[in-house]
Every structure is written in structure tokens, then in C-alpha cells.
């Protein structure tokens, strides 16, 4: 009885404090800023958080730089009042009437409630103002004509808030809001049409973004996430890996690191509920089944190089030596015979901050030739998915950075000596 009373009084003390912290507009804003992953685009790697300047190369169109969203009055968002701010998020029209490019996902943020939009602003206004002007956009004609966005917006932006579907559960609707409005998952995972607008009839069918393939996350059992269990999906979203599904890498690792891992269990479960219910789209590389017959006669050069370069962390089997983020079994990336993301990982490395510290893989282009890395890639695909990889040395060469140290293949007679 005494224990019960003590417990009750502790709870009474604890709950209002916790509730205040969560319910304050700034606390709510911080959570929403994470859910919307603002920091990922509005920060240069290694630079001031939220100060902008990250480059987005749009092939054939030019380069955009993200804006400074710290509350600096001159170079940031300090001059925004509430109505300006909400208009910017809902319609893509910034203060002073300047049209934003839809790299800023206002086509998704238009679904945000006004309260949530203002909570985001309230949190951003608590940040330290950083005086920094990002580089000017370098868009080619006609894309440098911002007024062109007026027509684009008319066609492609609904300017409508999220409307709950009353025939669905509360979790489904919360998930829909998180996925469609805040998380703007479709901005990467939905293909775009000739106007660079999302193809609504191909929602979540997967798309290539900044050199990476954002996989099909529709309900399709073969190409999408229809074969994943709820537990796998929830673990992947909140930690960046799931047993039998491999690790997230590149931009998805960033999304988990900066955004998804901060979401509550209930919110992640709500996202899973909604994502599960997305209509199946058959596009993209098929998922890797749970049991795989590895290539019967693996290429000896690939095996040799994999053991040298990869097995230290991934083990010769690919099961991962000690980190679940190094387990490659079932990874979609290892089942894509074109090797799009595998080449990116080999050429640029990947990393993710986790509750167990930083998990990282460095780039391998400094020590291995294009030919060697193509062997490694195709061996990995063969072993982990049983499929015949089609990665070419040219693909690796194209993925190298311009300043990459480029080792040369040994003369043929030396290779012949193996």
C-alpha cells in the first residue's frame, strides 16, 4: 500500500513535467523538424546545422543550394512572420514573393497543419542565428526563370491540408501524415514525370536520386516491401537495418540518422501501417529472398578480392562480423544486378550514426581499380542474391570523384601469375 502510494506520487510528479516538455510548442517543433528531416538538406556535411549550402545537382538543369534556415534576420529565416512562413511551406512562395524550387518538398509540406508548421518555425527560431549566405543557385535557362514555378505549382501542388480518411484507423492516418507530409518519403521513392513532378500513379515505385536508387517501397511482394514483416520494417526505420534485410546506406542512412530514429515507437508503427497499405507497384529490382543459393562456381578473382577487402568487417559469408549493420543477407542492394547502390557504396562509402556509435564503410576507390571493384561488386551480388551481377568497370569509373586517386591495374602477365 505504502509502495503503491509512493509510486503514485512519483508518477504524479513525473507526468506533468514530462508532459510540459513534450507539449511545449518548441518541444513539439523539434520533434516535427526531425520527422521532416530538415537538417539533412539544410546542412553541408561538417558545416553549421541548418545553415544551408548543400548542393543538389539536377542533371541537365543545374545546381541548387539549400537555404539557411537558422533565424538570422539577414541571411536566414529571422524575418519571417507566421503567415509568410506558412505560405512558404504550403505553396513554395518565400518571403518577398520568390518562388522556391520543388527540391524543397513543399508539394508534401502543403499537407502540414498550420499548428505543425508554426511549431516547426518556433523551434527553428530557438536555434543560434548563423550569418551565412549559401552559394547562388546555378540553374540553366529556362530553369533559372523562377516565375516558371507559377505554372508548375498550379499543375503539381494541391495546396490542400492533410485530410484524414475516416474509413481507416487512427494509426493509418497518423502514418499517412508522417509518410506523405512530414517524412516526404515519396520525394525520393516516387518516380518523377517530364515536369519533375511526382507521378501519383507510380507512388513509391522507386526512383533514382542523386545517383542512388531509392527502392520500391510499395506493397509489392516481389519488388517492394510486401515481403517484409512489420517488425523488420519498424526496426529498419528506427535503426537503419533489419535482420534478413541488410543495412540502409547513402541517403536512406541519412534519413534514419537524422530523422527516423528519433520518432516514437507508435509513430514508426503508424508509418508501417500506412506503408503496408500502399498499392503494389511491380517496378525495380526484385527483393532478395530469405534463402539464396549462392553462385555455384563463384568467380575466383571476386572471391579473392572480397576476402581481402570486405571479409574483415562483413565476414567471408557476408553475415557481418560483429555489427548488425555489416550483415548483407537479404539486402536489396545486393540483389540489384545493375549494382546502382553497390557502386555508390564502393565508390563513396556510407555511414550511419547509431545508438551503438558510428557505423561506417570507407570508399574503396583509393586502393582498388575499376576492374577490381567491378569483380567485388559482381561477386557480392552473386553470393548474396544468387543473381549474375552486371557491374562494369566503366560504372565504377563514372562514380569516382574527380579528385579520386586512381590506382592502375597491374600488367596482364602479373594477373596471369595468380
Amino acid at each position: 500500500m505504502l509502495r503503491g502510494l509512493l509510486l503514485a506520487s512519483t508518477l504524479l510528479l513525473a507526468i506533468p513535467l514530462a508532459a510540459r516538455a513534450d507539449d511545449s510548442i518548441v518541444g513539439k517543433g523539434e520533434y516535427l523538424v526531425r520527422a521532416a528531416d530538415c537538417v539533412s538538406c539544410h546542412t553541408v556535411p561538417g558545416g553549421h546545422l541548418f545553415a544551408g549550402g548543400r548542393a543538389f545537382v539536377l542533371p541537365g538543369m543545374g545546381t541548387l543550394y539549400s537555404s539557411n534556415i537558422t533565424p538570422d534576420p539577414k541571411t536566414g529565416i529571422g524575418g519571417y512572420n507566421d503567415d509568410d512562413w506558412v505560405r512558404m511551406l504550403w505553396t513554395g512562395v518565400a518571403r518577398g514573393g520568390k518562388h522556391l524550387y520543388p527540391a524543397m518538398p513543399y508539394a508534401s509540406y502543403t499537407k502540414l497543419s498550420r499548428d505543425d508548421a508554426l511549431a516547426i518555425k518556433a523551434y527553428l527560431f530557438t536555434l543560434k542565428p548563423i550569418e551565412y549566405t549559401p552559394p547562388a543557385n546555378a540553374m540553366k535557362f529556362p530553369f533559372n526563370q523562377r516565375w516558371g514555378m507559377v505554372a508548375w505549382n498550379l499543375i503539381n501542388v494541391s495546396d490542400k491540408r492533410f485530410e484524414p480518411d475516416t474509413t481507416k484507423s487512427a494509426a493509418w492516418n497518423r502514418g499517412a501524415y508522417l509518410v506523405e507530409a512530414l517524412g516526404h518519403c515519396g520525394e525520393c521513392h516516387t518516380p518523377r514525370n517530364f515536369m519533375q513532378a511526382l507521378k501519383s500513379d507510380k507512388a513509391y515505385a522507386g526512383a533514382k536520386q542523386q545517383g542512388w536508387l531509392a527502392y520500391n517501397i510499395s506493397g509489392d511482394k516481389n519488388a517492394g516491401i510486401g515481403g517484409w514483416t512489420d517488425a523488420q520494417l519498424a526496426e529498419y526505420l528506427s535503426t537503419g537495418k533489419a535482420p534478413g534485410r541488410g543495412p540502409a546506406s547513402g541517403p536512406m542512412a541519412e534519413a534514419v540518422e537524422y530523422s527516423l530514429r528519433y520518432l516514437t515507437k507508435d509513430d514508426v508503427a503508424a508509418m508501417v501501417t500506412y506503408l503496408r497499405d500502399r498499392p503494389a507497384q511491380p517496378d525495380g529490382p526484385p527483393a532478395v529472398p530469405a534463402t539464396v543459393a549462392a553462385a555455384a562456381a563463384p568467380d575466383p578473382m571476386g572471391a579473392h578480392l572480397f576476402n581481402q577487402a570486405c571479409a574483415g568487417c562483413h565476414l567471408p559469408t557476408g553475415a557481418g562480423r560483429q555489427s548488425p549493420w555489416a550483415a548483407l543477407g537479404g539486402a536489396h542492394t545486393a540483389g540489384d544486378v545493375t549494382g546502382t547502390n553497390l557502386v555508390q557504396v564502393l565508390a563513396h562509402g556510407t555511414q550511419i550514426e547509431t545508438d551503438q556509435g558510428l557505423m561506417f564503410m570507407h570508399s574503396f576507390t583509393g586502393g582498388y581499380t575499376d576492374r577490381e571493384l567491378s569483380f567485388i561488386a559482381n561477386y557480392t551480388i552473386g553470393q548474396m542474391s544468387g543473381r549474375q551481377g552486371q557491374v562494369t568497370p566503366q560504372q565504377i569509373g563514372a562514380a569516382r570523384g574527380p579528385d579520386d586517386h586512381k590506382p592502375t591495374d597491374p600488367p596482364p602477365q602479373v594477373v596471369g601469375m595468380r
Binding site: N307, C313, R321, S323, D355, Q356, G357
Partner: protein, 150 residues
Amino acid sequence: MFSLSINGQTQQVDVPADMPLLWVLRDVLGMTGTKFGCGIAQCGACTVHLGGAAVRSCLLPVSGIGDQPIVTIEAVGDSPTGAKVQHAWLDKEVVQCGYCQSGQIMSATALLNQTPKPTDADIDSAMSGNICRCGTYVRIREAIHAAASA
């Protein structure tokens, strides 16, 4: 506070959750047999056994260990396989400078526990993550075969 099972003994350590096991072993517990090499799990010098598997302690956060038993070079010779490996290492005069060798012995012992009669290919793949700047690889391979048939 973390409770770790190291070489059959329970050790209480008051360290940050993200401290790698190697730091706990060397700096907190004074067990300096396990070596720091590269710090990014590329060289194998810091190899220890976690639940019987060879792992790189330099990147293993103490919070990721739980109740899995840890064995280090200080006690690996207490197991029959570990003792055979150490004797073979002496018989074949494997060691040159020695810096990588505690890691080599830990990886070799883990291999033999899992694959008692390894082929050359088994040895090459299991030992590929352990780098030796003196080039003792040929003698390492010889000693593993010797330990396997001892």
C-alpha cells in the same frame, strides 16, 4: 556501469556506453595483451572472442556486448584449441615483431573451433582481416595446419 564476463570472470566497469571494448581492456582493466592497430577494424590487431566469434574490439561498443562471454589473448591458452595454437606458433617460430600476433592467434583459434581441419582457402579467408607488416603469413598458415593436426 557494465558487467562484463571476461576470461571467465565478471568485471564491473564504469565507462561510457559507447566506449569500445579495446579501451576497457587496455586502459580500464590494464589487460594490454590485446593491441591497438588501426582503430577502424581494418587490421585485426585488436581481435578478441565474443561468444566464441572473432571480433574487432576497437569498434565494439561496450553497450553492444550484453552477457556474451569475452575471451582475450591473456586466457585463450586455457582452452584446448588455444593451447594448441600457441604451441604451434612457438614450434613454427611464427612471430617476428609480434605486434599483430595476439590478434592472429585469436582469429586462428576461432577458425579452428569452427573448422577443425581447415583448407588453405579456409585459412586465407578467415585470416584475411588480420594484417601482418612483417609478412609472417606463410608461417601463420603452416602453424594453423600444425595446430589442426596436433
